[in-house]
Symmetry: C2
Subunit: 174 residues, 2 copies
Amino acid sequence: MTPPSSKLSARRKSRPSFAPLSAHEAELAEFFVRMAGILGVPRSVAEIYSLLYASPAAVDFDQIQGRLGMSKGSVSQGLKFLRDQGMVLSVKAPGSRRERWQPTPSLAASLVTLLRSQVLPALEQSSPSLDRIVQGAQGTQASPAVIERLTQLRRWNARALELFPLMLPPPRES
Amino acid sequence: MTPPSSKLSARRKSRPSFAPLSAHEAELAEFFVRMAGILGVPRSVAEIYSLLYASPAAVDFDQIQGRLGMSKGSVSQGLKFLRDQGMVLSVKAPGSRRERWQPTPSLAASLVTLLRSQVLPALEQSSPSLDRIVQGAQGTQASPAVIERLTQLRRWNARALELFPLMLPPPRES
DNA sequence: TTGATGTTTCAATATTTTTTGAACATACGC
DNA sequence: GCGTATGTTCAAAAAATATTGAAACATCAA
């Protein structure tokens, strides 16, 4: 049954087969996937994070791909996302050029960063719009009730913009 | 040019044409769409809410459809969503069976409800999973570091579950 | 340098989500 | 009660998003 197989010494390229997720690992992944879904983070990203989170040691690219059964492209993109959000860190093994990944120490901090990266741009883009809208409403034909609503909206927007930066220092430049 | 048109009295079915959104209305809609997007609420729903929000008086089904240029199905589903979240209210004109819609007074309260409806189910579903996972990890082969992580995760989950119900009373039954 | 290993890119494909619209229900004014 | 104005449902179409995989690229050990 074994293919014209390896000479005894020709161990080199053995495509190592990777263990599929254990039941508990899979269940944890589902947890992360659900939570990530709320913020629109794709399944593959949540799965990668979950795997690292449940692993006692840093995990390399091939293991991620193998154990999760996903494509190189997805692993690469997923890691990029997590890296950009500051949610994972890489360490390099000594004599190897391969990177090994692990979750950033504080999940809480990671989540704040993630949230900020989703919400802040929306708030910022909206500020000038809201100003224009409120002005437009005040200018001409608009019921006082509507003006009141819009004004409050703008107040909130401004408040949120002030508050957010306080939550944590912004992610460092690369 | 006018088609074999209406007898003078046959005014009945005049398909009233609806004004497209003003520039400011459109800009406000984009604001709501962006914000809604963060939580995965579809564009059509955000547009409907935005229209009501910027309207001095309650708006009926046909106006929503006409001014936003969307299908009946979308309007119906959108209103259902907003209704279920307690984000809009309807009032009925006296001698008409037509409903007219307006936003619920407190946008803040609406947002909390919306958030809860997204997050709570995920938290609840996850509770038993997390218990199992932590137990599994403690049982056998698991590094203390991983056990620590998982335990904290469960702690957070529990905390969030306690906290959420305090934020506002749950939506009333229909 | 060089070549093999390790990673990224991106166009094509698959999947999921949203929207449409016509058929179906409902209830209200007459 | 009837007929129609008013809404809802849901299968199918369209749009948005995620994933794949092969080719391009980068980097380091030799």
